[in-house]
Every structure is written in C-alpha cells, then in structure tokens.
C-alpha cells in the first residue's frame, strides 16, 4: 500500500503512553470489581435473608414453662373415685390452675387483675396438667408443683422479645404481671423448654398452642398426589417425545407448548384449578387432592424437560446395540435407556417436587387458605400446607406469631435443602460421562 492512499486527516495518533495503559488497567480492575461486588451483594442478601429468619425464628422451637403448685382436688377431678381414664380426661383442670394462681398470689383482688393473673399461663395449661395427672393418677388429692405452658405474652417476655425496661404504657406485659413472673423466676419456677407442641399440633389462634404438624401433613398429602400424577405422566410423555414421536407439527406444537407452560405464572394454574377442578368437576374445596392436581400440572413441564434432557444424554450406541440383538423399540427404552436415564429423571422430579412444596399462590385460589385446626386424615379433608401456613401466620396480628412464622420458614427451608441436596447427590453419584 502506498502512502498516498491513506488520507492524512484520518490518521489517529495512538497514545501508547504509560498513562493510557494505566487507565486501561484501572478500568479492567474496576470492571472485575463490579463483578465481584455483584456476586457479593447477591450472596450477602441471601445471607441476610437466612440470617434474619434464623435469628428471629430459633426461639420458636422453645416455649416458656412455669411451675405452679397445684392442689389436685379429688372432688373436682374425680368425685366418684373411679379413676377411669374418661373421667380424668374430662375434668376441668383449667379452673384448678386458676385456683392455684389465686392461692399463689393471694394479694390479687379485683376482676381485671385476676384475669391478668390467669393470663400468665396458656389456655392449654389445663391440658398440660391433665396429661401429667393421667400419667400418674396417684397425684390426685395432693399438692404438686406442676410445669405448664405460659401464655404467649409471658413467653415473649422471657425470650426477651418484650423489653422490660420500656415504659409500662408501651409494652403489652404490665408491671404487675412482670412482678408475678419475677417472683416465679426467683423461685426457679420459670424455664425454657423444647416446644413439642410446635411440631405436633395443628393451627391455633393462640400462638403458644399453634403448630405446624397439620400443615406438614397437608403438604405431605398434596405432594403425594402431585408425585403420583406428575411422575408417571411426565416420564411417559418425555419418553414418547424423545424416543418415539414422529417429527411433525403436532409434536412440535407439544414441545413449544411445554416450554411455554414452564413459564406460565403459577397463579394461572390456580385459576385453572378453581374453574375446572372445583367449578366443572365439583371436587371439594381446600382439599389436598385438588391442590396436588394443580401442582402436578404446574410441575409437569419441569419434569418433562428434565427427563428429556436425561434421555437425550444416553448415547445412541446403547439403543443401536439393543436393537441389534433383537429388542423391540419399547424394550430398548424400558430395559436400557430408561434405567440409564433414571438418575437424571429422579433429579428433575425432586427439583419439581421442591418447587411444588414451596408453592403458595395457586393453592390460595383453590381455598387451601382456610383456618384449619384439625390434622387432615385424607386427601379430601380440608387442609393447608406449610407455605400457606406461613402466609396465614405472617398475616396474623399477634406479635408472637412472628417467631412462629420464622420457625415454620426454617422447617420449610430445611425440607427444601434436604430435597435439593438429595438431587445434587443423585446427580453427583450417578452422573456418567459417555
């Protein structure tokens, strides 16, 4: 090239000075730092999220118990002296507890103060006394120091959620209540114990009696239905689409359809369930059966996509070898391809189930949001599930439900972590390089 062809006006001086290089390297470092900052921010927020939940929630696994000397009046509990279980179960222990509280603090008079005094212990304190009496009926007629659940306010006070140093008007627990509880504390009669009720009972309006067992059972039933429907249907359609389907417009349509269904907002599936399962088929509201069906439709695309990927990863040589020794196309799949793809299919299924376990919105649509105290006994009983229980508690005005909500979130996250860990483990353990 001759010099005359390059017009001198367009020649640009390239600055190769140290200063420019420095600037470029600085820009390089800055850019890299942005990346690190983004990752640190994202992970930091994740840490913050989990941190706040654990910090506010671990106390939900504990419950304050108070010990009160209770005179187990034989006249009140079992006037006939028969000691049979039914009589013992039906006796009014709550009023015995109230009587004992009056005896313990005889200086309390006046209706309102007495109601406050009774409020030291839970409404279920009588049940705690009953359980202990039924364990050992020989206590009847004597005075025993028995442990029982405190009310939620006292529980919050003992756990430090209510600050004793605040002015009296600003706290829910008043000075005289603190006085009584400090008397008990001084005697060593206040204790934090493991909160069994949180894991064994259903929902309740009283925070100290509310538990997640009902919701957990509801979740289990719902997931069972989801698994029973979505796993076979998902695997069958994945096998068909991947191994047998002819390439035509119908199968193309199915494929596009599945990809789009995977991205449809979950609440739309709830609307479908409401209109079709409840409206047209007349299935019961709030039932795990319907919830499971809706979630099955929702997780189906996830499972199909994962199963297809797993089937695709099995090399064609396996199929050809099996065909070569005379297997029918279906035998090729059931005897060779599917067993080899199974770990991948299982991984996809577990991830789909984890998704279903954490899903809330579609279940609100089909009425699984009712206040249900009983633990469901079947797939058509009204039930709620763990995430909906969290939603209900989060909406609850009672201050003590905040810690329950956090506790329930911890349980839910624990389940999800176990499921995802299982999926990762399956993938690691059985992943094969062909």
């Amino acid at each position: 090239m001759t010099e005359s062809t390059i017009p001198t006006t367009t020649l640009r001086r390239v600055d190769l000075s140290e200063a420019r290089l420095k600037r470029r390297y600085a820009a390089e470092r800055r850019f890299r730092l942005y990346g690190i900052a983004a990752i640190v921010t994202a992970l930091g927020i994740l840490g913050l999220l989990i941190g706040t939940i654990v910090a506010n929630g671990y106390t939900a696994f504990q419950q304050t118990y108070v010990a009160i000397p209770v005179y187990l009046d034989a006249q009140a509990i079992d006037p006939q002296g028969s000691r049979d279980a039914e009589t013992l179960r039906r006796a009014d222990y709550q009023s015995l507890v109230k009587q004992s509280l009056r005896d313990l603090f005889p200086e309390v008079t006046g209706r309102r103060d007495k109601i406050k005094l009774y409020g030291l212990v839970s409404n279920a304190a009588g049940d705690d006394v009953r359980d202990q009496v039924m364990d050992d009926p020989s206590m009847i007629g004597t005075t025993q120091t028995l442990w029982m659940r405190s009310s939620d306010d006292i529980d919050s006070l003992i756990k430090g959620a209510i600050d004793r140093r605040l002015p009296e008007d600003d706290r829910r627990v008043k000075d005289n209540e603190i006085g009584w509880i400090e008397t008990l504390e001084a005697q060593g009669n206040v204790e934090l114990r493991f909160n069994k009720a949180f894991f064994t009972s259903g929902d309740s309006r009283e925070p100290e009696q509310a538990g997640i067992w009902g919701a957990a059972v509801g979740s289990a039933y719902t997931l069972m239905i989801t698994l029973l429907l979505s796993f076979p249907i998902g695997v069958l359609s994945a096998v068909y689409l991947e191994e047998f389907a002819p390439k035509n417009r119908l199968t193309d349509l199915i494929e596009v359809n599945i990809n789009n269904l995977a991205a449809v907002p979950s609440i739309i599936f709830g609307l479908l369930g409401l209109a079709v399962f409840l409206g047209t088929f007349g299935l019961p509201r709030s039932a795990p059966l319907v919830g499971g069906m809706v979630l099955a439709l929702m997780t189906l695309p996830t499972i199909i996509i994962a199963a297809r990927a797993a089937l695709k990863a099995v090399p064609p040589s396996i199929r050809e070898a099996a065909l070569g020794i005379g297997a029918s196309p279906l035998q090729v799949v059931t005897h060779h391809v599917l067993p080899l793809a199974l770990p991948g299919v299982m991984t996809g299924t577990i991830i789909g189930m984890a998704q279903a376990l954490g899903e809330t919105a579609p279940l609100l649509m089909i009425g699984m949001v009712a206040f249900i105290v009983d633990v469901p006994g079947g797939v058509t009983d009204p039930a709620t599930v763990l995430p909906v229980q969290i939603y209900l508690w989060a909406d609850s005005p009672e201050r003590a439900f905040v810690e329950k909500t956090n506790g329930a979130i911890m349980v839910l996250l624990a389940f999800l972590i176990v499921m995802n860990a299982l999926a990762v483990l399956l993938r690691k353990r059985f992943e094969r390089q062909w």
């Binding site: 850019f31 990752i39 907002p265 479908l272 079709v276 196309p329 954490g358 979130i409 996250l413």
Partner: protein, 460 residues
C-alpha cells in the same frame, strides 16, 4: 367405600392378574417357554392391563357422573313446591341438603322434609358408592378371567402390551396441550361472561379500579369500577424496580462467572446464586413485609421522605433479588457459548479482558441476554406472593415508588380468596385479569424463547 381403598384393591387385583397370566403362559407352553410368542412376563402384563384399565376407567366415569345423578334424584324427590323454586334458590337448597347429609353446618333450620331429603340423598350416595365398588371389582375380575382365557402360545402379547403402552404415552403427552387448552378456555369463558357485564374497553382503558359491587340495589358508592390501567401501572412499576435490581447484579455476576472466575469458584457460586430462585416466594414476601419495608420506611423518614409502609420499592427490590438467578444463569450460559475464537481475536489485537467483554463477548451474546431479561420480566409480572404480602391493596395511579400500588396478581388473590359467589362481577373480574396476565406473560415468553433459539442457531 373409600375411593383410595378401591384404587388400591384394583391395583392389587392387577398384580394378582400379572402373576396369574405369567403362570398361565408357562402352563400353556407346556414347560417350553420358547414356544410362546412373547416372554411370559408379557402375558402377565397383558392380563394385568385387562384387569386394571377397564375397571379404573369405569371408576373414573362413575365418580364424575354419580354426583349429578344423585342430585337429579334428590331434586326429583323433593316436594313439588320446592321444585318450583328459582334455579338459584333451588341450588342453595340442594347445597344445604348435601351439607346436612355430610354432617356439615347448615344455613337454615332443619325441618323433617329437609332431614328426609338429606337421609335419602345419603342413602343414594352410599348405594352409589357400594355399587361403584362392586361394579369396578367385578369388571376387574371379569377382565382378569377373560384375558387369562385368551392366553395361548400364539397370542401376540408383547405387541398388544406395547401398543397399549404407546397409547398411554401419547395420552400422557397430550396432557400438556390439554392444560394449555384448559387454561385458555376456562379463562376466556369466565372473562367473556365478565365482558358481558363490563365493556371490554372500560376494562382495558378505565383509569379507576374499585371492584366493590353493590349487594343491594339502593347501596351508595359501590357501583364498581373495573378499569385495569392502575393495576397494570402498578405491576409495571414493581417489575421495573425489580429489573433495576436484578439486571445489573445478575449481569455482572454472569460476566464475572463466565469470564473471570476459575471453574472451582464457578462451581460453588453458581448453585449458591440459584438458591435465590429456590427460596419459596412466601419467604421473600415475609422478608419484604417484615424486614425490607420497615427499613426503607425508616431510612426514608430519616431523610425526610414520606414512605408508605407498603411501598412499591420494598416489594420491587425483594422481587429483584428473587429473579437475579433467572438473569444470571441464562446470561452466563449464553456468554459461555460465545466461541473462543472471538475472544482470542480481541486479545490478539491487544484488548484487555474487560474491553473484550464489553466490545466483543457482550454484543455477541446480546440476543440471549435480552431473552433472559425478558424471561425474568415475565417471571416478575406473574409473581404473586411477594406482592400479596408486601404491596398494597388500593389501586393508585402514581409514578412515585415510595407510595403503595397494587398489582394484577394481588387483585386476583384478593378477589378470589374468601367465600364468593361464583358468578358475581368481582370473581369474574379475577378471571379477566388472569386472562390478561396469561396473554402478557405468554407473549413475553414466546418472544424470549424465539430470541434465545435464533441466537443459538447462529453459532452451532
């Protein structure tokens, strides 16, 4: 009889059939299984299918039809004056009788006529259930016997079984299509009924939303306004805030992971980021309502701003955190798919890494990145629990992110949770909103998938 128990019995019968069929096949082969057309297991499966499928189908049909028949019987047995009632009141009465029969709370006084009707209904249901069990079980046994009789060495059991299985597979793969059709039809049908009451132009372009309809004719101030514009404005604002959080964080994470990070760091950081997408949305909602919203409110007040406790900012920011992995994972993948040669070319010209990324890798990966952002956006628009718990209920048409706004999904939930008449304008409005939501997210998804797919074809 309990349906689940019946299903279990039918399944047990099928496995018995499997064992019978297998044994029978061995017997008819006279001890030489090689004379059979298929292996003995296929004869077993053949019997099991004959035993299970017809009986389960019968049971399904029965479960769908029986309540309608029982209800028809109930109505035709009611006294004449009850039958003359208007359809609405008649269905209320029928509802009450059904509740009475199943032992639920009834909304009216129980008189002997009602009690008799309930008892009759209960008896019909019980007879129906028993008949269903009997019919299903006898059909299963019949199928078993029939199939077992047909077993002969020349029976092409494998082909028959395989044909059945492929029919099942085709049926299974049509469920995805049926779901879509079901969604479209149910939403469109209810929405159409809604548009018969509220003109579609008012719904799409109306500026005020207050779905309280009057319970009585003479009630004041509750004529109901169904203009969806404020809802969409609210949805878009929260989505915009979410994208402002998610796109920079997600993109820079993706760039760092695909271009700078060592494989080891990538292998640990990527799953950790994906945890963000795995946390249930109800947890984010709780976090937004209890931690983020008060924080934003307090810091706003500290600098003298008036912040609503249900500000769009809180819900949007938390939603942005949730969708970070949707942006980062897919962007990471598409940037990884940019061929090595492009990068090498840039390095050879003396570009630094960041210059290569900014001027070569990023433009080459742009369509895929746009696709991932669109997918994340459709996720944000359809997200429900975060906004239900952290955003407001009142429909404000505002551009101020510190005020409370409401979204389409929040309104769907508020309109449908709780006991509602199924065909009031309020509940139907929820379906119209659902249809709109479905259409918008579907359009975004189609565009996004299309963009991503086209881009992939370019380098393969």
């Amino acid at each position: 009889m309990n349906s689940l128990l019946l299903i279990a019995i039918l399944l047990v019968l099928s496995s018995v059939g499997y064992a019978f069929g297998q044994r029978r096949a061995r017997v008819v082969s006279g001890g030489h299984p090689s004379t059979l057309h298929s292996r003995p297991q296929y004869y077993g499966l053949y019997v099991a299918l004959w035993c299970g499928i017809p009986s389960l189908l019968l049971m399904a049909a029965w479960l769908i039809i029986e309540p309608h028949v029982a209800e028809w019987l109930l109505v035709s047995n009611l006294p004449a004056d009850a039958q003359q009632l208007s359809p609405d009141r008649l269905s209320l009465l029928v509802n009450d009788i059904e509740n009475l029969a199943s032992g639920n709370i009834v909304s009216r006084e129980v008189d002997p006529v009602l009690q008799a009707a309930a008892d009759g209904y209960k008896a019909v249901r019980q007879i129906g259930n028993a008949a269903m069990a009997a019919a299903a079980i006898s059909l299963a046994v019949l199928g078993l016997a029939f199939a077992r009789r047909r077993i002969a060495p020349s029976l092409r059991a494998r082909n028959l079984v395989e044909r059945t299985v492929s029919v099942l597979m085709i049926l299974a793969s049509t469920i995805a299509i049926l779901t879509t059709i079901g969604i479209v039809l149910s939403l469109a049908f209810e929405a159409w009924r809604f548009f018969a009451r509220v003109p579609i132009t008012e719904f799409l372009f109306g500026l005020s939303w207050s779905p309280q309809t009057a319970l009585r004719e003479d009630q004041v101030g509750s004529s109901g306004a169904f203009g969806a514009v404020p809802l969409f404005a609210g949805t878009l604002m929260i989505t915009f805030i979410a994208m402002c959080v998610a796109v920079p964080i997600g993109l820079f994470s993706a760039i760092y992971m695909s271009e700078y990070a060592s494989p080891k760091i990538r292998a640990t950081v990527k799953p950790m980021l994906e945890i963000l997408a795995g946390v249930p949305t109800v947890v984010y909602g709780f976090f937004a309502a209890l931690t983020v919203a008060p924080f934003i409110r307090n810091s706003g007040e500290a600098i003298g701003l008036d912040v609503s406790s249900e500000s769009a900012l809180a819900a949007g920011a938390v939603m942005g955190i949730m969708i970070i992995p949707f942006v980062s994972s897919l962007s990471d993948d598409v940037m990884n798919a940019v061929p090595r040669s492009l990068r090498d070319g840039a390095y050879a010209l003396g570009a630094t890494r960041s210059e290569t990324i900014k001027q070569v890798v990023f433009p080459a990966a742009l369509p895929g990145i746009v696709g991932s952002v669109l997918l994340a956006m459709s996720r944000a628009i359809g997200e429900t629990m975060i906004v239900v718990m952290a955003a407001g209920l009142a429909a404000n048409l505002t551009a101020n992110p510190l005020e409370a706004v409401t979204t389409v999904t929040v309104q769907i939930v508020t309109l449908l949770v709780g006991d509602q008449e199924f065909d009031s304008a309020k509940t139907l409005a929820a379906f119209a909103l659902g249809l709109l939501l479905f259409a918008v997210t579907l359009a975004l998804n189609v565009v996004a998938l299309h963009v991503v797919r086209r881009y992939r074809e370019k380098y393969d």
